[in-house]
């Protein structure tokens, strides 16, 4: 095959990957062309690994890549015909289930006709596989929120500014009375002055630690979760290193969706991602998923964890205690926000609540805008650092 034709095919292939939602830039395509020239195309296996090393940069992307590779390089002609059917790319989420990946690829390869067919099939399979029939597999309609309610919440939440407590980092900045001596600046000053050595100083920088939010979106929580999502949207766009997870019967990472500037658009994307709105809660199971899959990736650098749930658990608290204990040990500060606290006579009787209670650093109500404001204050209070920072000797 002439190299010109091969390059053309590669460009074509890259375009398909891009339509399937992978981040393939022109630079990667050039790399791929160069790499294929370098490695040759003697073996199909080598060709596969060559393209994979150059075209994808995230572990999650490899499944879509695999599927596309096997379809495309078996018969590029077929794809050529299908390309004419292609419709403009739709918005794609970042992390998704197997079916979604296939659907995205089908969409990229064959256009929207295939998508509809896939979707019908998907709902059926999902029903049979999910935890229970009671889980409500439908998109939560945010338009149901009354306009007055929405406007009120929006304005109030937009005014909330979260100033988090800060932790010391190991970076330094120049400071007149800092505890460390800046040798480089001192030396420069010495050269200028001669005689006495004018000591220049530095002090450690401080920065807010990452914030991880685990928000319960089951039926009993839905009224609060809706408003809380507005708050989380403001939070995610206000500062870096915020990670938001929603859970009911499963755990969904929605940080990327919430990053969209426009709050309505962001929440619509979240709604499209989440499959277990208003269903039951499996606190133990979802916490376990968080601990195993995410904790090491998002809880570094002294993260604060906000857990929003009423503690009412479908599994009657089964498996909650060890998981919350583990979470507590991995986080610098664990704050439980419970809307049920609005009742003055709230008593921790539910098993889930009993399991959670011993392992939280703070227990706060969150049922109206006033309590959200109180939370913002509490988070910015630098005096309640539970675990002392580790300092280098």
């Amino acid at each position: 095959m002439a190299s010109g034709r091969r390059a053309e095919n590669l460009v074509h292939f890259a375009r398909i990957l891009r339509r399937a939602g992978l981040h393939v830039g022109p630079r990667q395509v050039l790399d791929a062309v160069e790499a294929v020239e370098t490695a040759g195309i003697g073996r199909r296996e080598d060709f596969y690994w060559t393209l994979r090393a150059t075209l994808i940069k995230r572990h999650e992307e490899h499944e879509i890549f695999d599927q596309a590779f096997h379809v495309f390089w078996r018969n590029p002609k077929l794809i050529d015909k299908m390309m004419s059917l292609m419709l403009p790319q739709t918005e794609v989420p970042s992390v998704e289930s197997e079916e979604e990946k296939s659907r995205r690829l089908a969409e990229a390869l064959f256009g929207e006709t295939a998508l509809h067919r896939e979707e019908e099939g998907e709902i059926e399979t999902d029903r049979s596989e999910t935890f229970s029939g009671e889980e409500v597999l439908r998109e939560k309609d945010f338009e149901k929120m009354s306009l007055a309610e929405l406007a009120e919440a929006k304005t109030a939440i937009a005014r909330l500014r979260l100033r988090m407590d800060e932790v010391r980092t190991r970076r330094t900045r120049p400071a007149a009375n800092g505890p460390l001596i800046d040798m480089r600046a001192t030396l420069r000053a010495t050269l200028r002055s001669g005689g006495v050595i004018p000591l220049k100083r530095r002090s450690p920088r401080r920065r807010t630690p990452p914030l991880v939010v685990l928000c319960d979106i089951s039926g009993s929580m839905s009224a609060y979760a809706r408003i809380f999502l507005h708050f989380l949207h403001a939070l995610t766009n206000d500062r870096d290193r915020v990670h938001v997870f929603l859970f009911g019967t499963r755990l969904t990472h929605v940080t990327r969706e919430l990053k969209h500037r426009d709050v309505d658009e962001a929440l619509a994307r979240v709604a499209a991602r989440v499959e277990d709105w208003d269903g039951g809660t499996r606190i133990g199971e979802t916490l376990r998923r968080f601990n195993v899959d995410w904790a090491r990736r998002v809880l570094g650098q002294g993260a604060t964890v906000l857990l929003l749930t009423d503690g009412l658990d479908r599994d009657a608290g089964e498996g909650v205690a060890p998981e919350i204990a583990r979470l507590h040990r991995s986080a610098r500060r664990l704050i439980w926000l419970n809307p049920l606290l609005r009742y003055a006579r709230f008593e921790p009787k539910a098993l889930g609540v009993k399991a959670l209670l011993p392992h939280v650093d703070e227990f706060r109500p969150v049922h109206n805008i006033a309590s959200l404001a109180a939370l913002a204050d509490a988070l910015s209070d630098a005096h309640i650092e539970r675990k002392p920072e580790r300092r280098a000797a």
């Binding site: 490695a39 060559t50 994979r52 150059t54 940069k57 572990h59 980092t169 050269l191 200028r192 990736r297």
Partner: protein
């Protein structure tokens, strides 16, 4: 030692270096060497990412320069630092001799003579045996500012020292970057690298690795160990045992003169394999016995 000229030679090179590599890894290493691009290796802790760089340096006869990342890593520790003590003495001497030329003195003490070269600058210096292997280990441990700094280094292989000027590598080093993925590396940096996800090995490859790294363990014991570890990885533990743990465990068992696994032995030595108390509590006892039973059945079925 010259660079391999195709993928087969790369496989050979790694095998000679006592590294049981699969073809996918050999392919990306070959490409990284040939295209002169940094190689980003991501994967769980203990799958042998760091080892790859060591083996590569060894097999190619190049120097290995290792930069271990940590939070707060700055240019003073990673790139260069001035030798302040020596500079101070120089200034005092100059003053004692009554040198008046302050500008000249400034130039003098900020010369290469007082420059302390840290790993990145060392990697840019020319070497007789060929460019060194620069291992930037556990990049996810450092913070975003350092990552941003690396961008310049990794794309142009040059470093600017304000007092001296730009130092550029005549022949770029072979760069291996590793990450345990405790956080996501920035896309800009990833785009400059070839990317490879290093996975846990399958049973056959793990057995091959064990033969290379723990040769004193008997054939029988090695098989038991690999089968047991492979089963553990399917248990959804907090921290799956990596290859490093498998090797440790094999060595621990060999030290105890074990010839095959039994329940007591597993319980006593589980600490070499699992590092989280929750995981140990879950596996020790009945779960370990169950896995052992499964292994025995599978072995009998295969025989």
């Amino acid at each position: 030692m010259s660079l391999p000229s195709n993928i087969d030679e790369t496989v050979e090179l790694l095998t000679r270096g006592n590294y049981a590599a699969d073809r996918s890894l050999a392919t990306v290493i070959f490409l990284a060497l040939k295209m002169g691009r940094p190689l980003l290796l991501e994967g769980e802790a203990g799958v042998g990412k760091t080892e790859i760089a060591k083996v590569l340096a060894d097999a190619l006869g190049r120097r290995l320069i290792r930069l271990q990342c940590y939070e707060g890593l700055d240019t003073g520790a990673a790139v260069y630092e001035w030798n302040y003590q020596a500079q101070m003495i120089e200034i005092r001497l100059a003053e004692a001799e009554g040198v008046e030329d302050r500008a000249g003195l400034g130039k003098d003490i900020f010369s290469e003579r007082f420059l302390i070269r840290r790993p990145i600058l060392q990697a840019l210096a020319p070497a007789v045996e060929g460019p060194p292997v620069l291992l930037i280990d556990e990049l996810d441990r450092t913070d975003e500012p350092f990552e941003a700094y690396l961008l310049e280094v990794l794309s142009d292989f040059q470093v600017s020292v304000p007092e001296i000027g730009t130092i550029k590598a005549e022949h770029p080093p072979i760069v291996i970057v590793t990450s345990n993925r405790t956080r996501e590396i920035h896309d800009a940096l990833k785009r400059r690298c070839l990317y490879h996800w290093v996975d846990y090995p399958d049973a056959a490859r793990e057995l091959a690795i064990l033969k290379l790294k723990a040769p004193r363990a008997s054939e029988n014991l090695s098989r038991d160990i690999v089968a047991f570890v492979q089963k553990l990885r399917s248990l959804d533990l907090y921290k799956n045992p990596g290859i490093a743990e498998t090797i440790d465990w094999a060595e621990a068992l060999t030290a105890l003169d074990a010839v095959s696994l039994d329940r007591q032995l597993v319980n006593d030595t589980l600490g070499a394999l699992l590092k989280y108390q929750d995981d140990i509590a879950r596996v020790a006892g009945s779960e370990a016995a169950r896995i052992l039973e499964e292994i025995r059945l599978a072995a009998r079925a295969a025989a």
